[in-house]
Protein backbone atom coordinates (compact mmCIF):
# COMPACT_ATOMS: atom_id res chain seq x y z
CA UNK A 1 0.00 0.00 0.00
CA UNK A 2 1.39 3.38 -0.92
CA UNK A 3 2.07 5.95 1.71
CA UNK A 4 -0.40 8.24 0.00
CA UNK A 5 -3.11 5.65 0.44
CA UNK A 6 -2.08 5.06 4.01
CA UNK A 7 -2.38 8.77 4.66
CA UNK A 8 -5.83 8.81 3.11
CA UNK A 9 -6.95 6.04 5.41
CA UNK A 10 -6.20 8.13 8.44
CA UNK A 11 -9.16 9.86 9.97
CA UNK A 12 -9.39 13.64 9.85
CA UNK A 13 -9.31 13.63 13.62
CA UNK A 14 -6.06 11.84 13.53
CA UNK A 15 -4.53 14.71 11.64
CA UNK A 16 -5.23 17.05 14.51
CA UNK A 17 -1.68 17.00 15.65
CA UNK A 18 -0.09 19.45 17.91
CA UNK A 19 3.63 19.10 17.95
CA UNK A 20 5.23 20.63 20.93
CA UNK A 21 7.93 22.39 19.03
CA UNK A 22 11.36 23.62 19.61
CA UNK A 23 13.26 26.60 20.65
CA UNK A 24 16.98 26.86 20.29
CA UNK A 25 17.45 23.41 21.74
CA UNK A 26 14.15 22.03 20.68
CA UNK A 27 11.99 23.18 23.54
CA UNK A 28 9.74 26.11 23.91
CA UNK A 29 7.45 27.21 21.11
CA UNK A 30 4.65 25.25 19.57
CA UNK A 31 3.79 24.11 16.11
CA UNK A 32 0.05 23.67 15.84
CA UNK A 33 -1.17 21.53 13.01
CA UNK A 34 -4.86 22.26 12.53
CA UNK A 35 -7.33 19.49 11.92
CA UNK A 36 -9.11 19.44 8.59
CA UNK A 37 -12.74 20.38 8.95
CA UNK A 38 -15.05 17.38 8.73
CA UNK A 39 -17.02 17.18 5.55
CA UNK A 40 -20.78 17.52 5.93
CA UNK A 41 -21.56 15.74 2.72
CA UNK A 42 -20.56 12.41 1.41
CA UNK A 43 -17.78 12.61 -1.08
CA UNK A 44 -16.10 10.07 -3.25
CA UNK A 45 -12.83 8.69 -2.09
CA UNK A 46 -10.14 10.76 -3.76
CA UNK A 47 -7.99 9.02 -6.24
CA UNK A 48 -4.33 9.08 -5.55
CA UNK A 49 -2.44 10.94 -8.19
CA UNK A 50 1.11 10.03 -8.89
CA UNK A 51 3.36 13.03 -8.78
CA UNK A 52 6.87 12.86 -10.12
CA UNK A 53 8.85 14.78 -7.56
CA UNK A 54 12.51 14.26 -6.91
CA UNK A 55 14.14 15.33 -3.68
CA UNK A 56 17.57 16.69 -2.97
CA UNK A 57 18.51 16.16 0.67
CA UNK A 58 21.85 17.97 0.45
CA UNK A 59 20.57 20.74 2.71
CA UNK A 60 19.57 18.26 5.38
CA UNK A 61 23.21 17.41 5.94
CA UNK A 62 24.41 21.00 5.97
CA UNK A 63 21.80 22.91 7.98
CA UNK A 64 22.85 23.81 11.52
CA UNK A 65 21.11 21.82 14.23
CA UNK A 66 19.70 23.98 17.00
CA UNK A 67 21.55 23.79 20.27
CA UNK A 68 24.65 22.17 18.78
CA UNK A 69 26.96 25.17 18.39
CA UNK A 70 26.48 25.35 14.66
CA UNK A 71 27.18 21.68 14.01
CA UNK A 72 25.19 19.97 11.29
CA UNK A 73 24.15 16.45 10.45
CA UNK A 74 27.16 15.91 8.23
CA UNK A 75 29.58 16.88 10.98
CA UNK A 76 27.84 14.51 13.39
CA UNK A 77 27.88 11.44 11.17
CA UNK A 78 31.16 11.92 9.29
CA UNK A 79 33.10 10.28 10.69
CA UNK A 80 30.54 7.87 12.13
CA UNK A 81 31.53 8.35 15.74
CA UNK A 82 29.44 9.35 18.72
CA UNK A 83 30.60 12.86 19.56
CA UNK A 84 30.50 14.17 23.09
CA UNK A 85 31.35 17.71 24.14
CA UNK A 86 32.11 17.39 27.83
CA UNK A 87 31.41 21.07 28.45
CA UNK A 88 27.75 20.76 27.50
CA UNK A 89 24.96 18.60 28.91
CA UNK A 90 24.68 15.21 27.30
CA UNK A 91 21.72 14.77 25.04
CA UNK A 92 21.87 13.13 21.65
CA UNK A 93 23.39 14.16 19.29
CA UNK A 94 25.83 15.52 21.89
CA UNK A 95 26.76 12.07 23.13
CA UNK A 96 24.02 9.60 23.92
CA UNK A 97 22.49 9.05 27.31
CA UNK A 98 20.48 5.84 27.71
CA UNK A 99 17.40 7.94 28.41
CA UNK A 100 17.61 9.85 25.12
CA UNK A 101 14.78 9.31 22.64
CA UNK A 102 17.27 8.74 19.90
CA UNK A 103 14.88 7.45 17.23
CA UNK A 104 12.58 10.45 17.44
CA UNK A 105 15.50 12.87 17.61
CA UNK A 106 17.23 11.25 14.67
CA UNK A 107 14.07 11.29 12.56
CA UNK A 108 13.56 14.98 13.21
CA UNK A 109 17.19 15.71 12.40
CA UNK A 110 17.02 13.81 9.14
CA UNK A 111 13.69 15.18 7.95
CA UNK A 112 12.92 18.65 9.23
CA UNK A 113 13.98 22.10 8.18
CA UNK A 114 15.74 23.43 11.24
CA UNK A 115 15.47 27.04 10.09
CA UNK A 116 11.72 27.05 10.66
CA UNK A 117 10.64 28.49 13.97
CA UNK A 118 9.16 25.74 16.07
CA UNK A 119 10.97 22.90 14.33
CA UNK A 120 14.03 21.33 15.85
CA UNK A 121 15.68 18.08 16.81
CA UNK A 122 13.23 17.51 19.65
CA UNK A 123 10.03 18.21 17.73
CA UNK A 124 9.05 14.56 17.42
CA UNK A 125 10.46 13.50 20.77
CA UNK A 126 8.26 16.06 22.47
CA UNK A 127 5.12 14.51 20.99
CA UNK A 128 6.43 11.72 21.37
CA UNK A 129 6.31 9.47 18.34
CA UNK A 130 7.87 6.40 19.95
CA UNK A 131 7.82 5.40 23.61
CA UNK A 132 9.17 8.20 25.71
CA UNK A 133 11.24 6.16 28.09
CA UNK A 134 12.65 2.74 28.90
CA UNK A 135 10.57 0.14 30.72
CA UNK A 136 12.88 0.28 33.73
CA UNK A 137 14.49 3.28 35.32
CA UNK A 138 18.18 3.83 34.73
CA UNK A 139 20.33 4.03 37.82
CA UNK A 140 21.89 7.28 38.94
CA UNK A 141 25.06 5.51 39.97
CA UNK A 142 27.32 2.88 38.47
CA UNK A 143 26.57 0.63 36.61
CA UNK A 144 23.68 2.86 35.46
CA UNK A 145 21.87 0.17 33.44
CA UNK A 146 18.96 -1.61 35.15
CA UNK A 147 19.15 -5.18 36.34
CA UNK A 148 18.01 -7.88 33.89
CA UNK A 149 14.42 -8.98 33.61
CA UNK A 150 13.14 -12.33 34.78
CA UNK A 151 15.44 -14.99 36.10
CA UNK A 152 17.90 -15.46 33.26
CA UNK A 153 21.03 -17.53 33.39
CA UNK A 154 23.93 -15.38 34.48
CA UNK A 155 27.54 -16.16 35.15
CA UNK A 156 28.44 -16.95 38.71
CA UNK A 157 30.39 -13.75 39.21
CA UNK A 158 33.23 -15.75 40.65
CA UNK A 159 36.36 -17.49 39.44
CA UNK A 160 40.02 -17.00 38.68
CA UNK A 161 42.52 -18.17 36.09
CA UNK A 162 40.25 -17.45 33.18
CA UNK A 163 41.35 -18.73 29.80
CA UNK A 164 41.62 -15.70 27.51
CA UNK A 165 42.92 -15.52 23.99
CA UNK A 166 46.10 -13.55 23.63
CA UNK A 167 46.28 -13.45 19.84
CA UNK A 168 47.17 -10.15 18.18
CA UNK A 169 44.54 -8.03 16.47
CA UNK A 170 45.75 -9.29 13.12
CA UNK A 171 44.30 -12.70 13.94
CA UNK A 172 40.79 -11.24 14.05
CA UNK A 173 38.48 -10.24 11.20
CA UNK A 174 36.02 -7.36 11.40
CA UNK A 175 32.37 -8.16 12.04
CA UNK A 176 30.56 -5.01 13.13
CA UNK A 177 31.12 -1.38 14.01
CA UNK A 178 28.90 1.35 15.42
CA UNK A 179 29.13 5.02 16.23
CA UNK A 180 25.86 6.88 15.85
CA UNK A 181 22.56 5.09 16.41
CA UNK A 182 20.79 3.81 13.31
CA UNK A 183 22.97 5.58 10.73
CA UNK A 184 24.39 2.37 9.30
CA UNK A 185 20.91 0.88 9.35
CA UNK A 186 18.98 3.77 7.84
CA UNK A 187 21.42 5.50 5.50
CA UNK A 188 23.58 2.70 4.14
CA UNK A 189 22.14 0.46 1.45
CA UNK A 190 22.37 -3.31 1.58
CA UNK A 191 25.05 -3.49 -1.07
CA UNK A 192 27.40 -1.36 1.03
CA UNK A 193 26.70 -2.83 4.45
CA UNK A 194 29.75 -5.03 4.71
CA UNK A 195 32.26 -2.52 3.39
CA UNK A 196 30.78 0.13 5.67
CA UNK A 197 31.04 -2.03 8.76
CA UNK A 198 34.57 -3.07 7.85
CA UNK A 199 35.67 0.52 7.38
CA UNK A 200 36.95 2.93 10.00
CA UNK A 201 36.28 6.56 10.86
CA UNK A 202 39.48 7.39 8.98
CA UNK A 203 37.91 5.79 5.93
CA UNK A 204 34.72 7.76 6.51
CA UNK A 205 36.45 11.12 6.23
CA UNK A 206 38.50 10.27 3.15
CA UNK A 207 36.74 12.47 0.58
CA UNK A 208 33.58 12.07 2.66
CA UNK A 209 33.43 8.55 1.32
CA UNK A 210 29.86 7.76 2.33
CA UNK A 211 28.23 11.18 1.99
CA UNK A 212 26.88 10.44 -1.46
CA UNK A 213 25.47 7.18 -0.16
CA UNK A 214 23.81 8.93 2.77
CA UNK A 215 22.33 11.57 0.49
CA UNK A 216 21.10 9.01 -2.00
CA UNK A 217 19.36 6.95 0.67
CA UNK A 218 17.80 10.01 2.28
CA UNK A 219 16.64 11.24 -1.15
CA UNK A 220 14.85 7.93 -1.59
CA UNK A 221 13.21 8.24 1.80
CA UNK A 222 11.94 11.68 0.97
CA UNK A 223 10.61 10.33 -2.30
CA UNK A 224 8.46 7.97 -0.29
CA UNK A 225 7.38 10.11 2.62
CA UNK A 226 8.32 13.71 1.94
CA UNK A 227 4.80 14.66 0.90
CA UNK A 228 3.33 12.94 3.94
CA UNK A 229 5.53 14.90 6.28
CA UNK A 230 4.50 18.09 4.56
CA UNK A 231 0.85 17.18 5.01
CA UNK A 232 1.45 17.58 8.70
CA UNK A 233 2.48 21.15 7.96
CA UNK A 234 6.01 20.34 8.92
CA UNK A 235 8.61 21.81 6.60
CA UNK A 236 11.10 19.30 5.32
CA UNK A 237 14.77 20.03 4.87
CA UNK A 238 15.01 18.48 1.39
CA UNK A 239 14.52 20.56 -1.72
CA UNK A 240 12.16 19.43 -4.43
CA UNK A 241 13.58 19.30 -7.88
Amino acid sequence: MSLRKIAMMATPLALALTLIGCGEDGAGSQVVVPAPLPSTTSTATPTATATAVAYDSTNCFLQPIQGQNGANLKSFIIPDTLKLDLTRPTKFPNGRHPEDQVVDILLATLLLDMSVTGQGPNTLANVPLNPQRNDKFFLLTFPFLPTPNGTPQVATGTGTNFNFRTDPDSAYVSVDRMGNPAIATALVSSSMKLSYNDDTPTGDVANDKYLTEYEHELDKLFGLIGDDVEKLQLKICAKKT
Binding site: A14, Q153, T158, G159, A182, A184, P201, V229
Partner: protein
Protein backbone atom coordinates in the same frame (compact mmCIF):
# COMPACT_ATOMS: atom_id res chain seq x y z
CA UNK B 1 -3.87 17.02 27.10
CA UNK B 2 -0.63 15.17 26.74
CA UNK B 3 -2.48 11.85 26.71
CA UNK B 4 -4.71 13.14 23.93
CA UNK B 5 -1.65 13.99 21.87
CA UNK B 6 -0.41 10.48 22.22
CA UNK B 7 -3.69 8.96 21.21
CA UNK B 8 -4.02 11.17 18.19
CA UNK B 9 -0.54 10.62 16.98
CA UNK B 10 -0.76 6.90 17.41
CA UNK B 11 -3.26 6.72 14.58
CA UNK B 12 -2.09 9.59 12.50
CA UNK B 13 -0.84 9.87 9.00
CA UNK B 14 2.23 11.39 10.50
CA UNK B 15 2.88 8.29 12.46
CA UNK B 16 2.53 6.23 9.32
CA UNK B 17 4.87 8.43 7.37
CA UNK B 18 7.51 8.43 10.00
CA UNK B 19 7.12 4.77 10.61
CA UNK B 20 7.67 4.25 6.94
CA UNK B 21 10.98 6.00 7.23
CA UNK B 22 12.17 3.17 9.36
CA UNK B 23 10.64 0.56 7.08
CA UNK B 24 12.49 1.50 3.95
CA UNK B 25 14.73 0.91 2.30
CA UNK B 26 17.00 -1.22 4.40
CA UNK B 27 14.72 -2.73 6.99
CA UNK B 28 14.06 -2.12 10.61
CA UNK B 29 16.73 -1.97 13.20
CA UNK B 30 16.01 -4.35 16.02
CA UNK B 31 18.07 -2.02 18.09
CA UNK B 32 20.06 1.00 17.03
CA UNK B 33 22.60 -1.25 15.29
CA UNK B 34 21.41 -4.72 16.21
CA UNK B 35 21.29 -7.23 13.30
CA UNK B 36 23.49 -4.99 11.19
CA UNK B 37 25.24 -5.93 8.96
CA UNK B 38 22.42 -8.39 8.22
CA UNK B 39 24.51 -10.82 6.18
CA UNK B 40 26.67 -11.49 9.23
CA UNK B 41 24.41 -11.01 12.23
CA UNK B 42 20.76 -11.41 11.21
CA UNK B 43 19.42 -14.95 11.40
CA UNK B 44 16.82 -14.03 8.82
CA UNK B 45 19.55 -13.43 6.30
CA UNK B 46 22.51 -15.45 7.50
CA UNK B 47 21.77 -19.07 8.54
CA UNK B 48 24.69 -18.92 10.94
CA UNK B 49 24.60 -15.43 12.39
CA UNK B 50 27.40 -14.12 14.54
CA UNK B 51 25.22 -13.24 17.50
CA UNK B 52 27.93 -12.58 20.10
CA UNK B 53 29.69 -10.11 17.80
CA UNK B 54 26.54 -8.17 16.96
CA UNK B 55 26.78 -4.70 18.48
CA UNK B 56 23.38 -3.46 19.61
CA UNK B 57 24.11 0.04 20.88
CA UNK B 58 26.84 2.43 21.96
CA UNK B 59 26.22 5.08 24.62
CA UNK B 60 28.51 7.83 25.88
CA UNK B 61 27.52 10.45 28.42
CA UNK B 62 29.16 12.76 30.91
CA UNK B 63 28.29 14.08 34.35
CA UNK B 64 29.94 14.91 37.63
CA UNK B 65 33.47 14.72 36.32
CA UNK B 66 33.29 11.28 34.76
CA UNK B 67 32.54 9.93 31.32
CA UNK B 68 30.33 6.88 31.10
CA UNK B 69 30.49 4.54 28.13
CA UNK B 70 28.31 1.50 27.53
CA UNK B 71 28.31 -0.92 24.62
CA UNK B 72 25.60 -3.54 24.41
CA UNK B 73 25.71 -6.63 22.29
CA UNK B 74 23.44 -9.55 21.53
CA UNK B 75 25.38 -12.34 23.12
CA UNK B 76 25.77 -14.41 25.07
CA UNK B 77 22.31 -15.20 26.37
CA UNK B 78 18.90 -13.60 26.60
CA UNK B 79 16.31 -13.85 29.34
CA UNK B 80 14.50 -16.60 27.46
CA UNK B 81 17.54 -18.57 26.40
CA UNK B 82 17.68 -22.22 27.28
CA UNK B 83 21.14 -22.89 25.94
CA UNK B 84 24.04 -22.98 28.37
CA UNK B 85 25.43 -19.61 29.27
CA UNK B 86 28.55 -18.64 27.41
CA UNK B 87 30.59 -15.62 26.48
CA UNK B 88 32.38 -15.98 23.17
CA UNK B 89 36.09 -16.35 23.70
CA UNK B 90 36.76 -15.81 19.99
CA UNK B 91 35.33 -12.31 19.78
CA UNK B 92 37.46 -9.23 20.35
CA UNK B 93 35.43 -6.21 21.43
CA UNK B 94 36.79 -2.70 21.07
CA UNK B 95 35.67 0.69 22.29
CA UNK B 96 37.63 3.46 20.60
CA UNK B 97 37.93 6.93 22.08
CA UNK B 98 39.28 9.95 20.25
CA UNK B 99 40.28 12.76 22.59
CA UNK B 100 42.09 15.03 20.14
CA UNK B 101 41.92 16.10 16.54
CA UNK B 102 41.52 14.49 14.15
CA UNK B 103 38.46 12.85 15.60
CA UNK B 104 38.70 9.86 13.32
CA UNK B 105 41.68 8.27 15.04
CA UNK B 106 41.58 6.88 18.56
CA UNK B 107 43.85 8.02 21.35
CA UNK B 108 42.56 5.06 23.33
CA UNK B 109 41.39 1.65 22.19
CA UNK B 110 39.83 -0.34 24.97
CA UNK B 111 39.92 -4.05 24.14
CA UNK B 112 38.05 -6.68 26.01
CA UNK B 113 38.00 -10.42 25.73
CA UNK B 114 36.11 -13.14 27.54
CA UNK B 115 37.34 -16.46 28.83
CA UNK B 116 35.93 -19.38 30.79
CA UNK B 117 36.95 -20.05 34.35
CA UNK B 118 37.74 -23.33 36.01
CA UNK B 119 34.16 -24.24 36.91
CA UNK B 120 30.82 -24.22 35.09
CA UNK B 121 29.23 -20.81 34.90
CA UNK B 122 32.45 -18.99 35.59
CA UNK B 123 33.37 -16.39 33.00
CA UNK B 124 35.94 -13.67 33.16
CA UNK B 125 36.72 -10.50 31.26
CA UNK B 126 40.14 -9.04 30.50
CA UNK B 127 40.20 -5.39 29.57
CA UNK B 128 43.24 -3.52 28.30
CA UNK B 129 43.80 -0.02 27.03
CA UNK B 130 41.59 1.75 29.55
CA UNK B 131 42.54 5.42 29.89
CA UNK B 132 44.60 6.04 32.97
CA UNK B 133 44.77 2.42 34.00
CA UNK B 134 48.09 0.72 34.35
CA UNK B 135 48.04 -2.73 32.85
CA UNK B 136 44.73 -4.52 32.58
CA UNK B 137 41.55 -4.95 34.55
CA UNK B 138 40.69 -8.61 34.86
CA UNK B 139 38.06 -10.42 36.85
CA UNK B 140 34.75 -12.23 36.76
CA UNK B 141 31.81 -10.83 34.82
CA UNK B 142 28.74 -9.80 36.82
CA UNK B 143 30.99 -8.00 39.27
CA UNK B 144 31.97 -4.37 39.67
CA UNK B 145 35.69 -4.11 38.96
CA UNK B 146 37.74 -1.05 39.80
CA UNK B 147 41.29 0.12 39.23
CA UNK B 148 43.02 3.51 39.04
CA UNK B 149 39.70 5.32 39.47
CA UNK B 150 37.93 3.47 36.64
CA UNK B 151 34.88 1.33 37.27
CA UNK B 152 33.94 -1.51 34.93
CA UNK B 153 31.19 -4.05 34.87
CA UNK B 154 30.25 -6.61 32.24
CA UNK B 155 27.10 -8.64 32.47
CA UNK B 156 23.45 -9.02 31.66
CA UNK B 157 21.21 -5.97 32.01
CA UNK B 158 17.77 -4.79 31.05
CA UNK B 159 17.80 -3.86 27.34
CA UNK B 160 18.24 -0.08 27.47
CA UNK B 161 16.85 0.66 24.00
CA UNK B 162 13.18 1.59 23.66
CA UNK B 163 11.26 1.71 20.41
CA UNK B 164 7.92 0.51 18.95
CA UNK B 165 9.30 -2.16 16.67
CA UNK B 166 5.99 -4.03 16.61
CA UNK B 167 4.19 -0.99 15.25
CA UNK B 168 6.75 -0.62 12.51
CA UNK B 169 6.49 -4.26 11.57
CA UNK B 170 2.70 -4.24 11.57
CA UNK B 171 2.59 -1.17 9.44
CA UNK B 172 4.99 -2.73 7.00
CA UNK B 173 3.15 -6.01 6.72
CA UNK B 174 -0.47 -4.81 6.77
CA UNK B 175 -0.44 -1.23 5.67
CA UNK B 176 -2.56 -0.45 8.74
CA UNK B 177 -1.30 2.35 10.85
CA UNK B 178 -0.23 0.88 14.14
CA UNK B 179 2.81 2.67 15.53
CA UNK B 180 2.24 3.54 19.15
CA UNK B 181 4.15 5.49 21.70
CA UNK B 182 2.87 3.37 24.56
CA UNK B 183 4.38 0.11 23.29
CA UNK B 184 8.05 -0.72 23.68
CA UNK B 185 9.10 -3.88 21.91
CA UNK B 186 12.06 -4.17 24.24
CA UNK B 187 10.05 -4.34 27.44
CA UNK B 188 11.30 -7.24 29.58
CA UNK B 189 14.20 -8.01 27.25
CA UNK B 190 17.83 -8.22 28.24
CA UNK B 191 21.19 -7.50 26.65
CA UNK B 192 24.79 -7.98 27.59
CA UNK B 193 26.75 -4.82 28.18
CA UNK B 194 30.12 -3.51 29.13
CA UNK B 195 29.85 -0.35 31.20
CA UNK B 196 32.77 1.90 32.06
CA UNK B 197 32.98 5.00 34.21
CA UNK B 198 36.17 6.97 33.57
CA UNK B 199 37.27 10.06 35.51
CA UNK B 200 37.97 13.10 33.34
CA UNK B 201 41.56 13.19 34.54
CA UNK B 202 42.20 9.78 33.03
CA UNK B 203 41.34 11.10 29.55
CA UNK B 204 44.08 13.72 29.66
CA UNK B 205 44.45 17.33 30.65
CA UNK B 206 42.19 19.75 28.84
CA UNK B 207 40.22 17.16 26.96
CA UNK B 208 36.76 18.49 26.16
CA UNK B 209 35.64 16.63 23.07
CA UNK B 210 35.35 12.90 22.58
CA UNK B 211 34.58 10.65 19.65
CA UNK B 212 33.46 7.15 20.57
CA UNK B 213 32.81 4.10 18.44
CA UNK B 214 32.63 0.35 18.90
CA UNK B 215 33.97 -2.52 16.87
CA UNK B 216 33.85 -6.28 17.04
CA UNK B 217 36.10 -8.80 15.33
CA UNK B 218 36.15 -12.58 15.25
CA UNK B 219 39.20 -14.79 15.63
CA UNK B 220 40.04 -16.68 12.47
CA UNK B 221 37.46 -15.04 10.22
CA UNK B 222 33.73 -14.60 9.95
CA UNK B 223 31.50 -17.55 10.71
Amino acid sequence: MRRIFKTLLAGSAGAASLAALMLVPTGVAESADHLDPPSRTDGGVDPNPDIPADIADVFAWHSNGTTKIAMTFAGPVSAAATTPLYYDRDVLYKINISTAAPGNTPEFTIKYRFGPGQNPGEWGVRIEGIPGVTGVIEGPVEQDLQKDGVKVRVGLFDEPFFFDLIGFRETRSTGTLSIRNNRNFFDTQNDTAIVLEIPDANLGAGVTNLGVWGQTARFGGNI
